[in-house]
């Protein structure tokens, strides 16, 4: 049975799915390579592509509260505080 995708991976997939073609296919390929040791070695030969793949995966990783909160960024708290203030002030 296939393992369900973790939330980080799911978030990244939604982001990649929103990209227009042909970037979408290119990004999927990059992610597939970045997630495998041999793929990572291959990417390491091309600086710009390596940085893009690395950046994409890292973006997903640091969206995860488990990695972001220790760095001082609590997205849920910020969104909740914003919503509360908006309600208080009667803003749209």
């Amino acid at each position: 049975m296939r393992k369900p995708a973790d939330p980080v991976r799911r978030g990244l997939d939604v982001f990649v799915d929103a990209a227009p073609q042909p970037q979408r296919s290119g990004l999927r390929l990059l992610l597939a390579l970045e997630r495998r040791p041999r793929g990572r070695r291959l990417l390491g030969r091309a600086h710009a592509v390596d940085q893009l793949a690395n950046g994409l995966v890292a973006m997903g990783r640091y969206e995860d509260p488990a990695n972001a909160v220790p760095l001082g960024w609590d997205a849920d708290a910020i969104a909740a505080r914003g919503r509360a203030l908006r309600r208080e002030d009667g803003r749209l």
């Binding site: 990244l12 600086h47 710009a48 640091y62 910020i78 914003g82 908006r86 749209l92």
Partner: protein
Amino acid sequence: MSGRGRRREARVLDADVCVIGAGAGGAVAAAELAEGGMRVVVLEQGPRHDADRFSARPLEMLARLYRDGGQTTTLGSPPILLPLGRGLGGTTLVNSGTCFRTPAHVLARWRDEFGLEALADEDALDPCFARVERALSIGEVTPELAGGNAAIARRGAEALGWSHGFLKRNARGCIGSGVCAFGCPTSAKQHVGITYVPRAEAAGAQVIAGADVRRVLVERGQARGVEARLLDGGRLEVRAPAVVVAAGTVHTPLLLARSGLGRDSGQLGQNLALHPATGAFALMDELVDMAKGVPQSFYVDEFAAEGIMFEGVAGPPSYVAMSLPLSGRRHAAAMADYRRLAMFGLMVSDRSRGSVRSLAGRPVIRYDLLAEDVARFRAGLARMEELFRAAGAREVYLPLPHGVAPARARPRDLKLMAFHPLGTARADARPQHGVVDGDLRLHGVRGVHVADGSVVPSSLGVNPQLTIMALATRLAFGLLGRAVPRTEEEAHVLSD
């Protein structure tokens, strides 16, 4: 007749003006026209966003608030990421909120090079700017709200004696959530989706989200309305003797072209300016917490005359992780020090020009950086390093491959983004040189006007939203046949 195969009847609406697009230009024009007593229909391709769903998570919000998930990219050397907002508010929903009036030297160029004496009349534009500034509560960011990231740049600029200041923004009740570009959770940013769009609706305008305009209808040189597709697959026809096209610099030329309009000069889709930009990072000894405060709150304009402008940029860890010009262990080490990272942006007032055309219904954006703009990036990056060093940076991470010095950077070494597409239906008094005239009316057609960044005939060197809104204000009052009120009192007297 059976339902199968039968073409669904188009829903028909009648209006005095149909406005296409609810971004910086369209929303402003729609509100002013509706408040001026016109029957207005606004058609917006994107959705109506609910601020309750703004999560302060960049990855999620990019996919939701941006066209193509924020991954629209130019073709050329180098490829440039061109994120565009989508929905009521357009790009004002996701920009940093920075507001500059059109610089005087740019207006002079519009007069001299494009024959736009009336459009570029500073005195005549003044009430348009003032009116938008009042409507959007535009004011200067305070040092407290600007946060630690701005403090670093300020310290560097002061040490070097470079001209600098706090930026003006359209915000009210801002608490520095740090996610202007990903949906303001407090609705402090006064984007047009929560300011001008509600005003338009309150004045009776019909605002329809999810309406994809296929064609502007013109008969015998006179606007007749527009045809659109709705989300449910239905068709909509708006019959109107005046149409304001405000679909944005990338999509307006495509819409005009498929409507068979605006092509006589050969300029439609040409003259694309972008203000290409990049960002650099510095590792400081102190805690910066760059995302706490207004991300774009401070500027350094010492080199503006050379076409180089520095403006603040910052974001949460996931945004920084994507933007850091590092990989592998160096990336991980820098991210571990996220709280001590500072970031600043560099924007070039470009001389390079690109184009937009349609391929299978999608925009293909072509743009190559001229050698003189590459030189601006080289100079700008060297100065960015100087700025950070003067502020006491322990390390500086420039957006270049490891070991490449700014002076030796090639176009393909640059990691660029752009946020200000302009010029693809540019204004020029001469029909053979521009798509619209000085009143933003399509040359050779009655009743079709353009009110977005596409009419701006040159790079501005500063963020364009206020220019676009002021031009839309001028257009709306022109259509109403009234002068733009110079004061709030005058506006009240006129409306009474």
